[in-house]
Every structure is written in C-alpha cells, then in structure tokens.
Amino acid sequence: MPEPSRPARGHTRRTVLKSTAVTAASTAFLPVAAHAEAEANVVGPSAIAPGESAEITLSVNGRDRVLTVEPRVTLLDALRERLGLTGTKKGCDRGECGACTVLVDGERVKSCLTLAVMRQGSDITTVEGLADGDRLHPVQEAFIRHDAFQCGACTSGQVMSAVACIREGHAGSPAEIREWMSGNLCRCACYQNIVDAVADAAREVRR
C-alpha cells in the first residue's frame, strides 16, 4: 500500500498544492546560464553550472517571490539577505540550534540545511507569516504570557518549531514537549518557560 511521499497529517490542502507545484517547478525554473547537459534538459529543468545563478520563485508567507540565486544559497540566506525577512535567525548555520526553523509545506525544517533552489513550488512560512494582521498567533501570545525568552535570538525558531510540534500532536506533556522541541536550543536557558508556553498554546489550540 503506497504511502504519501512525505508525512503531511492535517495539511491536505498544502499537499495538493505541493504536488501540482512539482510540475510547475520545471517551468518556473529559468536558468541564467544553461549547462551543457542536453539530455537532462529533455526530461527535466535545466541545470545550473558552478558559479552561475538562476532565477527561482519561492512562495513565502503566501506570496510568490522571485529571486536570483546560486545553488549554494541556503533558504535561510535567501529569506534573510535577499527577501529581507530577518525574523528567521542564523544561529549555528549547521542545523544544530534550530534558530532558523521555518515551515515548508507545513512541516518544520532547518532553513540553514536547505538549498533555496530545492524548495521552489513549496509553501514556506516564516515567523513573519504567523500573525493574522495585528492578531498574534496563539503560540506567539503564549510565549509573551509565559516570558519564554530573554535575548530573543532563538525565539522565532522556537515559535515556528512549537507551531509544528503542537500540530503534530507532540505537546501532550512537559516531557513530550521537551523531547519534541529538542531541535531548538536556548542559550539563555528559558526552557522551563518555553515548555509552559508550548503546553499553554497547545491547550488553547485544542480548545
């Protein structure tokens, strides 16, 4: 019995959008310099030669954004340096601290370990896309209520991770929250308040 290619519980709409986007990606891919890989061109999008850039389209917080990047540009750098979305933070830049956590097609990932060229056609949500106008997301509200930060450097990553953690159903107890939030470090060690905030937000979401 075949399973969906990625776990996408509770994200039916996004899954649908994503599968159509896979075909769209090939046409949206406009290489600045075509690589001499004629055979590959026939069956898929064109290659990008080393040192060259390509124009790509990323869907960020519901808006299509066009940008020109080299293949080595991470999603994190594309968001911060090209699109000016500096809410997503660069901590370790090697997948260990979680400050760069964003949602891709509803799932939390580390944007520092993601190449921007590989996420065309995906639905990307950053901390800037969480609030509904002036109304903060319940997780953001809970972080403020519980004073779940000090310096704030890890906070947007914590918040994004918490949104996914709750959605995944992994916020049932403090122990479970600690385990499933373990990809997000806080060097101010606000863990106790973060756990309280996530638990509180989870209760609110369930309500």
């Binding site: 898929g44 290659a47 997948g95 990932v109 580390k110 370990l113 190449l115 991770s161 992994h170 385990e179």
Partner: protein
Amino acid sequence: MRAFGYTPVRDPAEAVRVARQTPGAAFIAGGTDLLNLMRDGAQRHEHLVDISGLDLASITDSASGLRVGGLARMRQVAEHRSVRERFPVLAEALEASASPQVRNMATIGGNLLQRTRCGYFRDAASACNKRVPGSGCPALEGWNRGHAVLGGSEHCIATHPSDLAVALLALDAVVHLLGPDGPRQVPVGGFHLRPGQAPHVDTVLRPAELITAIEVPRRAAAVRSRYLKLRDRATFEFAVVSIAAVLELRGGRVRDVRLAFGGIATTPWRSPEAEAVLRGEPLTVAAIERAGRVLVRDAVPRPHNGFKVELVQRALVELLSGLGGLR
C-alpha cells in the same frame, strides 16, 4: 560553501546518468549531512544532482516484508503504522535520532550514507585518513572518547553514527541500489566497510550509484524488538552506545536473538558469536552477561573510550532483561 553546479533530475536512471557524466558530482536529497560536510571542507563537490523529486519515497508492506523507498523521510518511516506495529526497533531508532526538524528532511538512503562524527574528520585543519588518505589518524592517541573499540585499524577508529543502520542490521535488511551497471542488492551487513587500510571508503557504494530502497524481511519475532540508545545528554545527540535487539522466546528459552550495536564500532556491528551464546539457552542475566563478554572479547580500548567496553555489556543486560521480561 564553495560554488557548485546543480541539476534536478526526474527519474532514477537519469540521476545515475547525470551523476556519472558530471565530474565531481554527488547526489543531494535531504542535505542535512552533505551541506555541513561541504561547508566544513570535509567533502568537496563541483556539482549536486538533486534527487529529491524522484518517486522513491513510498513505503509498502507485503507478505515478504517492508520496502522503504530510499527517499522516504525519517519521520515518514517512524510514523508508518506497519513500522510501529511490526518493527518497533526501527521506529525507536529513528525517533532517537537527530531532531524533529532533521527527521522531516533527512532520507533513509542518506541516513545510511551519513559520515562519521569524529571531530578530526569534521575538522578540515586536522590530519585524517578518512578525509585525506595517508595523512594520519590523530584519534588513535588523541581525544577518542567517542571512538570505536571494535572494528578499527591503525588507520582509523571512527564510529558510524547511524541509529537506523543498527536497527536495520538487526533486522537483516537489504539495500537496493541502482548504478551505471544496473540494479543490485547488498545486505545491510555488507554495506558499510571497516576502515582497514582504506578508511576513506565508507561503503560498497560505487560511483554514481543510488540507494533506491531498503527491504526489511518479514519476521514475526520483530514485534518484540527494541532500541536502546545511551548518550551524553537526554536527546538530540549521537550514541555513546546503542543496541538494537530482536528477541524470540519460547518457554523461557531463547529461540532466536539478533543483536546489533552502535557507538562501539567502526560500522554498525553485529555479533553472531554473542547471539550464539544465547540461542537455545534459558534467558537469564547470567547468560546475557556471558554473551556480553563474548561481544567485547576482541575490543581494543583507547585511553578515553575504555568505558564503552563495560557500558555496552551493562546496556545489553538492561535491554534484554527488559525485552525478555526478566524484571
């Protein structure tokens, strides 16, 4: 990161062809290990072939066993109902790995191919026979607390970091490959190579060869299987010692047992001799302790990692007595 070229591909045959034709090419799927290796200068590639769009991510469960596509994500496998019900050791090993974010990204094929966490290997300024053949191994006399006590050579004692591979080894899984010469299958026990004279070669994978699937044979006894992982902090850490065990008891006697170990050896480690000690015997703490002694018989401890020899034996008692209902 140094500049590299990029080619997204649409089917496995194309992936192999492009990788073979492009100098300095590597496949990228999840990217969670590869990008750090490239950042650190531990690996250099002029071109990445993006296989993340290939249709190799499905999981199927049939009478013969479980087939997991090479591009299935760690989370996807860990959440799969058949995996949780029939092969709990797999789900446990996966959920004890990395972080939720990384498990959303990293693939099963990439997990088997992840490279050692040895600090000398990851540090491009250090000598390392795995990174630069012939440059030496500072771990032998250096900081080797995390290193192997089994399967090492005078050229390398780095451990393999995968939890999943340890669980797959206990389940006799088979790796399906596609390369320029067509498809082939390799038992997971023969997939990773001990360092010997050539520590820079981690696996039997040939150039431009792709992991298309992992097959786990159906085994009723695998319902009683478990993964124990001991690490320096509660979670989000690599194993100091880990054990995957499948135990089949009949009338208090061990009908069959499969044991695979992580953190103590240069490859995911199976000990047929330790299993033989237990097979056919009543399951007792004394018998498990005998098996543990056989496991570490040929261990070569270094200045900082000798504790693993004792720790793995205690871990074996802990795991099997729990699994066998001795306490």
